[in-house]
Amino acid sequence: MSLLKAKSPRIREKRLDTLNAWLGDTAAAIAEFSGEDTVQRIRTFSQGAQDDLLYVLRLLAGIRNSVTIIHAPRGCAAAGLYHQVTSGRGHWIVSNLDQRDTIMGADRKLRKAVTAAHRQYRPEVIFIVASPVTAINNDDIQAVVEELHEELELPVVPVYVTGFASRNAVTGYDIALHSILKHSGGDRRVHQRSSKVNLLSVVEHPADRFEAERLLSSLGVDLNILPDGASSKTFRLATEARLSLSLDQDSENYLGVILRDEYRVPYIEQPRPVGVEATGRWLVAAGRALGIEDAASVLHEQESERVRRELGDFSLEGVRVYLALSPATAFAVADLVGEFGGEVAGITVSHLDKLHTARLEVLSRRSPALQLHVADGQPFEELNIVRRIAPDIYLGDAAHLGQVGRLGIPVVSLENTPVLGYNGVTGLARSLSLALRNRSFGAALAGIPTSYTGAWYRRSPNWHIKKEVR
């Protein structure tokens, strides 16, 4: 009966027909998801990209008082090093599987690592993250988990990720959330509802989280934020909450659904509060569910007035913008570009699935000709597209903006830029304004050739996207 019974959740391709390679207009995109069975696409040429393991690690980096043991050869911990060094988040141990371990198994090594982690950090929880090697080898992580869970009197949570089962990295969020809830979730029997409201926040920029907190707290809402910055207790409290509010359906959908279906916490899945209007709708929807709709409306009025004042005469009138973001963010920022008076010239989303059909319909009505590209970490396609479209500015959050910059156009990174709420509007306006005003850095980069051949730029951008033969 329970979704949490399974070792890990269904991959996104199966659960939501998620695509990670596609090119076409919005109407065609809607058509893709209207049938029973969406045809998956594959690439005959591809470039390195995020995978579910990386998303698992990103999410776990935000869990407080935890240690993560990556049960893998040493290189799989590189992303952990990145989180540790750049943002001081997480404690990362790699079990360091060598050639012999890939043949003989490495239970003993894993056991040693868990014991050492416990002794060193006295964490609230230890995660054991699987990897391609353990997945292929079928390592018996479960036995170690059960044994040490008893011995250390500590939740030891296995996270069964493979790195290859899904082509969509976002599956990793589902896997991590599934594992946490499965092992440290609260009691599933009848609950007393608490006064708390879950704010679902998955690897949001801290400033974005603060903005959501700021708005809701000023309405007197008693928040329980997870999984970002959550401890074990936060997850237990989540199951008793009166409501779950979403910030980004792409990443949190699975968490909201589990809390709703397993623990009967109502779940409001509202588009991301990006832009004045969407933030207002998000706030009012929350207010409605909590019986404070009027207060929410008043707050929206005040804040939007402030934003209008701060924006002054800022406008994107006549500016053609390319967006390359995760889908929920891309669609939300597209609306904001509209609010600013600009034109969205094209969109790359990291994946696309059934969760997006409503947004696609809106987009299709507004800009029927708009081209939608689905790709995660495939700059060869993006550069081909962007060169053709020649937008005035590019907004993205991928790791390959350094390649995009060589096209000579202004680039704004949303990787570390807050975008949510009213403060997100003014902040983004400031970044866009600076990027459009001074384009000299792009001009300097334009002297450096991109990595691709002239022949490739003459080909259609979707040349290497094929229907998967099953």
Binding site: F45, S46, A49, I69, R74, I93, P379, A455
Partner: protein, 453 residues
């Protein structure tokens, strides 16, 4: 048996190979593995060396194998990926490197390479699964592949350059100052009339690699250059010279003299060049003396880094700058044989200081060594910053990984590098001394509220 590692800084063999390939202009790595392998490399290596991202993003070609390939094999996917890489990505050399999953599945990478070669594609390969070892191992595997497979790709004859010297053992990004270090060692070799073949970095292309067999000498700048040098000695009879460590300051002069002797170069010319470099450095030291004395530069230090860095930097800090080595931690996993050599080398260098020399790559263990060592200054990677802050000590990032430090072509090797080190380390010590002074003023005015009111 290998152990688990907390805060692993030595990445894996695949990443080591990528680091080498990305530093050769015109070489294109083709990763045959999961989608995430290249991305991990980008996050966990390139981004922790801000300013040194040659491609503007993660590696440009990766077969991104999926479940199907794990089950049925991925060789055909590699065939397709290789062919299309050559069509899409500009390059002079395509270098297939494999990851753990494709190696476990047993894909036949040599066969796929041969197929490409048969179509006249300039392709080579190396089997570099992460489970085979760390970044240093990967560097060696990739160098070996280049040395062994490149000659088959060469069409035209080579023109020999007299006095050519190849440099080995500097691993891009694993030494954050690799580019500047190579440039400076090159400048010094040019100073005595030689033609350095740096092989990696700006302007260093596949052509330079084709010229490898023509060298008069192979210099190993670290223990990781010994294998390539040995391989070339075997194949081409080229003599080899292994440096004790990164040549910083006076050690660079000794390197030039050793090279001169090995190659029968006019000793006087070399000595005169070394004297002029030496004299400039000594003048810089003299111009720093007032600061040195008043800010109390003569500290006991902890140094954490790769063997070549630990030897080279500690030699300069100790034998020229007058500091005292307290805790040395070598993080690059030398072989047992290399460990023994390093141990006796460093024992001679640090004799009488009561220095503790350790080999570790574990963040927690290393922090513990620094904590118990009692040094008054820490040089290490970003991972050591935490313990330095905890102990209230001046701290300089010198080894991988870096955080918050952009490096373009700054280096610490040679004479110029010694000056750069004086600037960076001097700034760290001086600003710490000034901060200590200012904060004790604060402390005074705080305690003042007790005594003066």
């Amino acid at each position: 048996m290998s152990n688990h590692i907390d805060g692993s800084r030595n990445s894996c063999a695949l990443h080591g190979a990528l680091q080498l390939i990305e530093a050769i202009e015109g070489a294109v790595p083709v990763i045959h593995s999961n989608a995430g392998c290249g991305y991990q490399h980008f996050l966990g290596v390139n981004r922790l060396n801000a300013g040194g991202d040659a491609f503007g993003g993660p590696p440009v070609s990766s077969s991104n194998i999926s479940e199907k390939h794990v089950v049925f094999g991925g060789s055909s996917r590699l065939r397709e990926q290789l062919k299309n890489t050559i069509q899409v990505v500009e390059g002079d050399l395509y270098f297939i490197v494999s990851g753990c999953s494709t190696e476990m599945v047993g894909d036949d990478i040599p066969a796929m390479t041969k197929e490409g070669r048969d179509q006249n594609f300039p392709v080579i390969y190396a089997n570099t699964p992460g489970f085979r070892g760390d970044v240093h191992h990967g560097y060696q595997l990739a160098v070996k592949a280049l040395v062994e497979q490149l000659p088959d790709l060469l069409k035209a004859g080579r023109t020999r350059t007299a006095g050519q010297v190849n440099l080995w053992g500097v691993i891009p990004h694993q030494d954050p100052f690799w580019a500047g270090n190579l440039e400076e060692i090159g400048r010094l070799l040019e100073g005595i009339g030689l033609k350095p073949n740096l092989l990696l970095g700006y302007g260093q292309d596949v052509n330079g690699w084709h010229k490898v067999p023509d060298a008069d000498l192979n210099i190993a700048v670290s223990i990781w250059g010994e294998t390539p040098a040995k391989l070339l000695e075997e194949r081409y009879g080229t003599p080899a010279l292994t440096l004790e460590g990164l040549p910083v300051g006076a050690a660079a002069g000794r390197m030039l003299l050793a090279v001169s002797e090995k190659l029968g170069i006019d000793r006087e010319r070399t000595e005169s060049f070394v004297r002029s470099e030496e004299n400039r450095l000594n003048r810089h030291l003299a111009a720093l003396a007032d600061t040195y004395y008043r800010a109390g530069f003569q500290l006991e230090f902890a140094l954490v880094g790769e063997s070549a860095q630990v030897v080279g930097l500690s030699e300069f800090l100790t034998s020229t700058l007058g500091l005292i080595p307290r805790t040395l931690v070598i993080t690059d996993n030398p072989s047992e044989e290399a460990k023994a050599t390093l141990q006796s080398l460093l024992a001679a260098l640090v004799e009488g200081w009561g220095t503790e020399l350790s080999f570790s790559e574990d963040h927690i263990e290393i922090s513990g060594l620094i904590r118990s060592g009692g040094a008054g200054l820490v040089l290490g990677s970003a991972l050591e910053e935490q313990v330095a802050v905890e102990l209230g000590l001046p701290f300089l990032q010198v080894s991988f990984p870096l955080s918050g430090r952009v490096v373009i072509n700054r280096g610490y090797a040679g004479y110029k590098g010694a000056s750069s080190l004086l600037e960076d380390l001097g700034s760290v010590i001086l600003s710490h001394a000034l901060r200590a002074d200012i904060s004790s003023q604060d402390k005074h005015s705080r305690s003042g509220t007790v005594f003066y009111t």
